[in-house]
Amino acid sequence: MHALHDYIVAPFVEFAFMQRALVGALMLSASACPVGVFLMLRRMSLMGDAMAHAILPGAAVGFLFYGLQIVPMTLGGLGAGVVVALGAGAVSRLTIQKEDASMAAFYLISLALGVLIVSLRGSNIDLMHVLFGTVLALNDEALVLIGAIAAITLAALVVFWRALVAECLDPLFLRSVSRLGPPVHFVFLALVVLNLVGGFQALGTLLSVGLMMLPAAAARFWASRVEPMCLLAALFGAASCICGLLLSYHASLPSGPAIILSAGAIYLLSIIAGTRGVLATRVRHISHRTA
């Protein structure tokens, strides 16, 4: 019992940097995972990945001018993400181009621009932080930022919940009774960008999408309604963060990959053992009902 306490609780009690990392990661789980559920239900999972790449040049511009500081890099990432999301969203809504193709076009342009900007300053080891994050070095500024993002996201989800569900379930119906369809879509894209930007402090631009998508994809195997699915995704996210941080602490692994790999383990487990997973649906049931 004592050993268990030493192993699981003590690191978070003894070290301030572990506490900050835990608080930041838990806030991120609460806000990014439900957003990930909607991203998955809209079949836009890979769009999250594209958005993560699109954020890079904005963060790089902030880095180029101000060095490794959270506010300029976050604002830069936010700007780049919003431009790409709005541009791709507008092209897909106003022309025959579908969302996936326009998103791919915009993020590739954005990514090439990012690489170009990075090369202006030459290679720099600090840039590794941008790409892969530093959850163990979250400062007060970063925690406040993540907290604000989580508060905005949860508030927006509560307000727009029914609209988001309607937009996913039957977009043509929503268009026939209300003009809210396109605005709701853009609000949602803004939430995606906001959470990816919030995550890149902790996990880096490339891995922050992992905390958004993996718990959501895992929750799909357990829940058959949206509300429980979002709750479960947030729980899975929180569990992966705790697991990842402990792994990182005890085995001296980089924290970002440890968190995402923990989420990946939950996902693989869910595929097999979930109530809607392989075992439950593929194994022939011995008996069935008469009606």
Binding site: L41, V159, F160, R162, A163, V165, A166, C168, L169, D170, P171, L172, F173, L174, R175, S176, V177, S178, L180, R220, A223, S224, R225, V226, M229
Partner: protein, 266 residues
């Protein structure tokens, strides 16, 4: 017809895609409280006309006017409904509450009652908690009719609601349409089964890109009208001349505003 009496008014309405008309120069109006069958071959512009009324398709020329204050329920032929979405039948039917509750309004006890009443009216008692991906085609259609019921709209547009539906379900759904007609709602239904139209619908509009006949259902569906409707060419003609004032059809107040469109069949 008295303007006050019209629910939907078309004034020289042309709707279409890529400058090719799908509904060509339609004028007239749908009376409040009328029940109209929209009839015509595939590609004759029936669904396009409904999209024009709903407003999801902008006119190429002319005007489609829905009387102010009219609430509208639309059941499309090709629904964009995502059947793999983790929703229950009640969630789907509750979408019909949107016009009443909007974005911010919370659902009230009477709303849940309205949903339950609608489900029982379409014969889906006890289906409320079923996930929508477990419904059969007919059950899903009944659920969508329940959503229209919940919408409680003045103008109801149904696009081929009887496709791939068994006889008993058709009979039940026709019963619902008759009930709406009895409640003085304006109903427009796209139907392919002409016997069904003759049997149940007082009025019909026969389309073949342009209106062929419009009025009493039995006389609209007279053999000579059906023959004329069959003689139109469904395909687009890229060499068709630009439709301009002074052509073979009447052009009351016809305007193209420089955005000329092609006549589909010359």
């Amino acid at each position: 017809m008295d303007r006050m009496d019209a629910c939907v008014t078309f004034e020289d309405l042309t709707l279409g895609y890529n400058r090719h008309p799908a509904v060509h120069h339609l004028s007239g109006s749908v009376r409040k409280g009328s029940l109209t069958a929209l009839v015509g071959a595939n590609g004759s512009g029936k669904s396009t006309l409904l999209k024009g009324i709903v407003g999801v398709l902008q006119p190429m020329s002319g005007v489609c006017r829905v009387a102010p204050g009219t609430s509208l329920a639309y059941l499309p032929q090709q629904s964009e409904l995502d059947r793999s979405f983790p929703a229950r039948v009640v969630d789907l039917v509750s979408l019909g509450l949107w016009p009443r509750r909007g974005l911010l309004g919370r659902l009230r006890p009477e709303d849940f009652e309205a949903v339950a009443t609608a489900l029982s009216a379409v014969g889906l008692d006890g289906f409320g908690k079923r996930p929508i991906d477990t419904l059969s085609g007919g059950q899903l259609q009944r659920a969508l009719f329940a959503r229209v019921l919940v919408q409680d709209a003045d103008l109801i547009l149904l696009d081929e609601p009887f496709n791939a539906i068994d006889a008993r379900t058709v009979a039940d759904l026709v019963g619902l349409i008759m009930r709406w007609h009895g409640e003085r709602r304006t109903v427009v239904v796209v139907v392919h089964d002409l016997d069904l139209v003759r049997q149940h619908f007082p009025e019909a509009l026969l389309l073949a890109r342009r209106p062929v006949a419009w009025g009493d259902a039995r006389s609209t569906l007279a053999p000579e009208n059906l023959l004329r409707a069959r003689q139109f060419n469904e395909a687009w003609d890229d060499d068709a001349p630009w439709c301009a004032p002074g052509d073979d059809h009447p052009h009351a107040g016809h305007r193209h505003d420089g955005d000329a469109h092609r006549k589909g069949a010359a």
